[in-house]
């Protein structure tokens, strides 16, 4: 009867057996391919995340043993010397650097995307600071902020202005923000250029015919269409800003008076600068991990729901 002779020859048992075998083969090959990477992922990422939670309930040092103290580390966190300051510094840092980076990047991207020719050289130069390791960037900035021969004060001097002490308590964090803008603006500029070039050109033609000004086209066309992209950039660059450490340790050494001591810096100090604060370090780390997980989930959620909408 059947036009598929191959199917006819299989008894139901045989069919089921073959399906089981194919399924088994899929399971085995799937885990074989995933296995090596997944083992590293679990061992060096999942386990340490859980480990941070475990350590956050301990009091003591990395060497010399710890004891269980429940949630004491978290309740003591607000009154701990330096901990609220570190969190505050990090939040201020992120709050200042993220808008500056993204606004600057968007501006550069708009210029680059409209350029008729000669974009390659600008892209190369704008992106170059992105490739500088934070430590090296901090060394370079020592030469900009030095009060005797730093570039910033030389420029001020050329205009007849008094020199500035760049590493005072109220300016040092600003210097770190400026460094971060310098180092990251190129990354997001390239990101935005790709997005802008991908926008449909007909809409702009139509808007132009209707007499919309360049600014109106930006405000009512470009920005709304880039909303998801910008949201992604805000979340990711905020998460990156939370992690600032290497520039702070080399350029300002956390100072003066803890003015540039960030969360990761404080964690590092608790672990390696004292013998019994590993629990505090883990408690702050966990707060940061939870904040970042919340941001990640928020983003996944919004990206998914928007995709469902359009």
């Amino acid at each position: 009867m059947s036009t598929e002779p191959g199917r006819m020859r299989l008894s139901p048992e045989e069919h089921a057996r073959l399906r089981r075998r194919a399924r088994l083969r899929r399971e085995v090959s799937g885990w074989a391919f995933l296995g090596p990477m997944f083992a590293c992922f679990v061992l060096f990422l999942v386990v340490p995340v859980l480990g941070t939670a475990w350590w956050s309930t301990r009091f003591g040092g990395l060497i010399g043993g710890t004891r269980f103290v429940g949630l004491d580390n978290f309740t003591r966190l607000p009154s701990l010397v330096g901990a609220p300051q570190a969190i505050w510094n990090t939040v201020v840092f992120a709050g200042a650097s993220v808008p500056l980076i993204l606004a600057g990047a968007l501006g550069i991207a708009l210029l680059l995307a409209r350029l008729e020719r000669g974009g390659a050289i600008y892209r190369f130069l704008v992106y170059f600071p992105v490739l500088v390791p934070g430590v090296v960037a901090a060394l370079i900035w020592l030469f900009l902020t030095n009060s005797d021969f730093g570039l910033f004060n030389e420029i001020l001097r050329a205009f007849g202005l008094p020199p500035v002490t760049w590493f005072a308590t109220d300016t040092a964090l600003g210097v770190l923000v400026a460094l971060d803008v310098w180092r990251n603006v190129g990354y997001w500029a390239m990101f935005f250029v790709a997005a802008i070039i991908g926008l449909p050109g007909e809409l702009y033609q139509a808007a132009k015919l209707d007499g919309a000004s360049a600014f109106a086209r930006f405000l009512y066309l470009t920005l709304p269409m880039l909303r998801r992209i910008i949201f992604f950039a805000v979340v990711v660059s905020t998460i990156w800003a939370f992690q600032v450490f290497d520039t702070a340790i080399v350029l300002t050494r956390g100072g003066p008076a803890g003015a540039t001591t960030t969360v990761v810096y404080r964690v590092w100090q608790y672990v390696f600068g004292s013998s019994n604060k590993v629990g505090y370090a883990s408690a702050i780390s966990l707060v940061m991990i939870v904040a970042i997980l919340a941001l990640t989930l928020l983003q996944m959620r919004l990206l998914r729901s928007r995709r469902g909408a359009d």
């Binding site: 391919f33 992922f41 061992l43 030469f143 970042i292």
Partner: protein, 301 residues
Amino acid sequence: MAVIAESSAVGGRQDLKRLAVDHARIRTRQRRLRELARHLALGLITFVLVAPFYYVFLASLKDSHAIFQYPPELVPWPPFWGNYANVLSHTNFLRWMFNTLFVATTVTVLKVFLDSMAGYALAKIDFTGRRAVFLLMLILLMVPGGALIVPLWSLFNSLGLIDTYFALILPPLANPLGAILMRQFILGLPRDLENAARLDGLNEFQIYWRIVLPLIKPGLVVLAVILFTDQFMSFIWPLIATTSDNLIVLTVGVASLRAHGGVDYGLWSASAVMSLVPIAVLFFILQRQFLARSLAGALKQ
């Protein structure tokens, strides 16, 4: 009358034509002016972004007296090479550089294989737990290494691997970004190819090795660039994982020049310039792949 009307009509047509030509000329001029303004703005921005490099390069060519001179020499002549000689003779710089390049290369090579295999499994093989694993990777994608130093240190310490190359190479392998990217790339491949390959009797590994890998080569290069630069720049874990001068990587070594030893602007400037050489060379060769580094982030999930 007819003649006059005709001539005026012709004149009108010529006027119109001239008007159109003028209009076009004005528009071209406006376009050129705008283009010029864009070039000026971008030129200014790139100048500001690049000036710090030039300034530190200048400083590296000055001795300890010339650096304090005002106004600063914009072209120090004759250049003073002593700072570079100092970096090479007074520090372990070349060893640090070797360590960085060795670790970064090893991590990159290992990870390109691990990630492309994992990406293949996540994209093409239907096994139990696939969705859960992928979701877990997405969720933990952004967890920063700086928050994991306590458990990682104690793990490696209990394994007796602190202050070895293993401590530098193993933890970066956990990063799920590569597997997620590779999954994305492999999902974009047409299904027919692997079906044809399967009918030809190729097994999963042969399909991955002979069909998939060659097809996603551009993606592999971008991944390699991402991994290599991330590794080149990594700092906090190497700072904690290694202590002996023969094992520390470039970023840790350069930071130690600032942390220990006195104020030595010559040493700092020359080591900063030398640190940038490898990545600058690589960027020059692989410009497009580097710029795609940003775009990889734009991949929708």
